[in-house]
């Protein structure tokens, strides 16, 4: 616990990659494997559920701090983080360092479900009273199930690779999927033979950065493979040992959600892994993301919904053939093998389709192709070097995404609420409205997009221009106009305005615009209708 807590503060104190990897490597080198496996699980986000109800933690800590419940709530809304609030309220004076190991602590948490409420309380209070402030915060983060720290999986894998002298790619592959720290031994995961018999294990996805420079800097256009960028669920289909597995990019095993792909046991050779995008496609036409959500959020898959919203995979890469890892082959070669497999399969054009390759002779003409994206249900283009291997995670250089410009609309700030975490205590969560006649109707919230400096400025403005307070929310004088960018617009009976935006964010503060120059509800409806 002490070493893990130290690791946390070391990672938290820097934004630079190298010191982070170094701290992690040292941790792995000096920590018992049974503790390391928990640390890895927590760092890569494979964390267990919170073992105790939040309301209990609130009640117990308020009592311990001699604070009434309403005061706890008021404090929480200022701090913006439950674990931190509890830590500050308890105000530990203990300088002691705990002797409990991370493994012991996490296993104790696992056992909490068998304890009575009274027993749980006793255990938690004991920790609260004896831990030092620094460890107390980590303890509370763990027990509230909210532990997070600024390292990517890749950095964790990099450090493991260094500590155990194993190739980074191999490490990444071994830790993918749904292993549990309770029943996994680090030593087993790191052993070579353990690796081969994990039938369902997917490969880490290769991800692209958004293009942030001019196209010609990419060099010769003929060295690039151009594909559409799809707006579905990125997934891997695995056929091994007469079984099919479908993984999402979030490393969720979704096989049961997609009965369409069961047939692939018959239609694909054993030892095949395909990378692609799962999309609702009806008569060759890609349906909206909304449709997709309807399908994936449904608990019971009825015949009707399967019929109404059939899914297919648009395949664009082949990672394994005849059980052999192809990731180091050049993309061009992988594509050739992919085409061969797909077109010879009985699933061709039923559950599997090939992602079409687009041709373009010069960069100047590419924008035209990009702008066609929305009309065919896509988000933009993918540019992949023909000689690129299949990388682990997000890397710059070989793959780029180039999305179409988002929609945008000018809206008026009407409500503000303070944020959480880094933005606690600042008004950072805004609700925006557009004109409907002479009334401002709220249509979206947006949390991000402003610079820190602008946030301070808006925060100060909100404090001075509050009309009314409703709990944590303030209504403000309608005056400030912001440009809101978003990726999509859909009808939504659940929202008052009748529309729902996808990925709304503030693209800039229109200080040059006055209130009356904001857009109208009709403008939004026009976008909606142009879209459908």
């Amino acid at each position: 616990m002490k070493t893990f807590s130290d690791l946390y503060y070391e990672l938290d104190a820097t934004t630079k990659t190298n010191p982070k990897v170094e701290a992690l490597t040292n941790y792995f080198l000096n920590t018992k494997p049974e503790d390391s496996i928990w640390a890895i699980a927590l760092l890569v986000g494979n964390r267990p559920k919170r073992p105790i109800k939040t309301s209990d933690l609130k009640l117990w800590s308020a009592a311990l701090a001699n604070v009434s419940e309403w005061l706890f709530d008021d404090s929480y809304s200022v701090v913006g983080d439950l674990a931190e609030t509890i830590t500050l309220l308890i105000n530990s004076k203990s300088g002691n360092v705990s002797e409990v190991s991370l493994n012991e602590l996490m296993r104790e948490f696992e056992g909490f479900s068998k304890l009575s409420d009274e027993e749980k309380k006793e255990r938690v209070l004991e920790y609260w009273k004896k831990l030092s402030t620094k460890e107390l915060y980590i303890f509370n983060k763990l027990i509230t199930g909210a532990f997070r720290v600024g390292v990517s999986k890749l950095l964790v894998f990099k450090a493991l690779a260094k500590a155990y002298n194993i190739d980074e790619k191999v490490i990444a592959h071994r830790f993918i999927g749904n292993w549990k720290p309770t029943n996994t031994l680090l030593t087993d995961l790191l052993k070579e033979d353990e690796f081969s018999d994990s039938t369902s294990r997917p490969y880490p996805f290769c991800l692209a950065y958004a293009l942030d420079f001019e196209l010609p800097e990419l060099g010769d256009i003929t060295e690039w493979q151009i594909e559409r960028k799809y707006d579905g669920i990125r997934g891997q289909i695995i056929v091994r040992h007469k079984q099919v597995f479908v993984w999402s990019r979030g490393e969720e095993l979704l096989t049961e959600k997609f009965p369409e792909f069961e047939e692939l046991i018959e239609f694909l050779p054993d030892g095949t892994v395909i990378d692609g995008e799962i999309l609702p496609i009806v008569e060759g036409e890609i349906k909206s993301f909304n449709q997709m959500q309807k399908r994936t959020t449904r608990k019971a898959l009825t015949k009707k919904i399967l019929q109404d919203i059939p899914l297919k995979m648009v395949c664009y890469d082949l990672l394994e053939k005849d059980g052999k890892d192809l990731r180091d082959l050049p993309l061009e070669e992988r594509r050739r093998l992919l085409e061969e497999i797909i077109t010879h399969s009985k699933a061709f054009n039923s559950s599997l389709v090939l992602a079409p390759l687009l041709t373009c002779d010069k960069w100047d003409n590419l924008n035209e192709l990009r702008n066609q994206a929305k009309s065919v249900g896509c988000e933009g283009l993918m540019l992949k070097r023909k000689d690129s291997n299949y990388e682990t995670g997000r890397k710059r250089g070989k793959w780029w995404k180039w999305k179409v410009d988002p929609y945008s609309i000018d809206a008026v700030l009407i409500y503000a609420q303070s944020g959480h975490g880094r933005r606690a205590n600042l008004f950072t969560d805004y609700t925006f409205a557009v004109w409907d006649g002479d009334v401002l109707v709220p249509f979206t919230k947006a949390y991000s997009g402003l610079t820190d400096k602008e946030i301070f400025e808006v925060d100060a403005w909100v404090k001075k221009n509050t009309i009314e307070k409703f709990g944590p929310v303030r209504s403000v004088t309608p005056k400030l106009v912001f440009e809101i960018a978003f990726e999509g617009i859909n009808e939504s009976p659940r929202h008052k305005s009748g529309i729902a935006l996808r990925f709304p964010r503030i693209s800039r503060w229109r200080k040059d615009k006055i209130l009356s120059e904001a857009n109208t509800k009709q403008d939004l409806l026009n976008l909606l209708h142009a879209n459908t």
Partner: protein
Amino acid sequence: MLLQFDKDGIYCEQAGIYIDPWKPVDKAIITHAHSDHARWGSKSYLAHHDSKGILKYRLGQDINLETLDYNELITINGVKISLHPAGHIVGSAQVRLEYKGEIWVVSGDYKVMPDGITVPFESVPCHHFITESTFGLPIYNFPEADALNTDLKNWCLKNQAAGKSSVVIGYSLGKAQRILNCIDDLQIPIILHGAIYNTNEALGLTNERYIRYAAGIKKSLNEPVIVVAPPSAIGSSWLRQFDPYELGVCSGWMQLRGARRRRNADMGFIMSDHADWTGLNKAVLATGAENIYVTHGYKSIYAKWLTRQYGLNAVTVDTLFEGEALEQQDAETTQEEEASA
């Protein structure tokens, strides 16, 4: 009511005098020299002896200023008036007013925990107590000065050992003197931002070890230094010349992780000249007052707490006092500082 809150400030009609008025008035008692309490333009001022230099420096050498010692009694039109230590900054005072047996105390800004350089807070029994509530939430519990000083010193030494300068941020009046008091005996050159150097001079706290910032000074020293600068320096290009450096921010708000991270401080030192939760409660209860007027800070929450927990008659009062500002555009960031940077 001996005191009332009107549009210009806290007013005692019987004595015809305002306490920390935010508009120019005839007679003003000033609790301390921070700019949200000591405002420009009044015809005459009354304050503690130790505030003299700094008030003249900030409000003008020609102001009509009378000063008192702590516990020295004067009487104006039957109102007995005296000043008592508030422990906030040098020369800070609580104002006690008594008329026909009714006693009021205006505490201004105060802190209960001793800081090692300010005359410590003294509790003054009264019927009506006006308190601030800058840190009026139970999440604010500040470390004691000794522990804080040790941390700050070690941090500077650690930076020095790593070949880095230490930039320590604190208000030029109050924090800066505490910081200097802590790091005075380290064998590291100390550079003061102009605003802080000037403030120190006005306070009569000169020390040959303090180097007033001048362009090129860092280069000429050619070794890690300690720079003490006001909050306005955070994020400024002015700081770049001290590269490589670590940034340490001294503020009560550093208790919160979010505030710490927002400022990109490498290190936050929980140093405040205001009372923390324990301090506020201790101070309020020690007065024995039944009527509490809660000003700047988490005032509605704190008044609710005093009412419910201790059965006091606590109400909130709107003032223009700002307490310890959370963000860069704080009470003290004035053109004066910008100009002397």
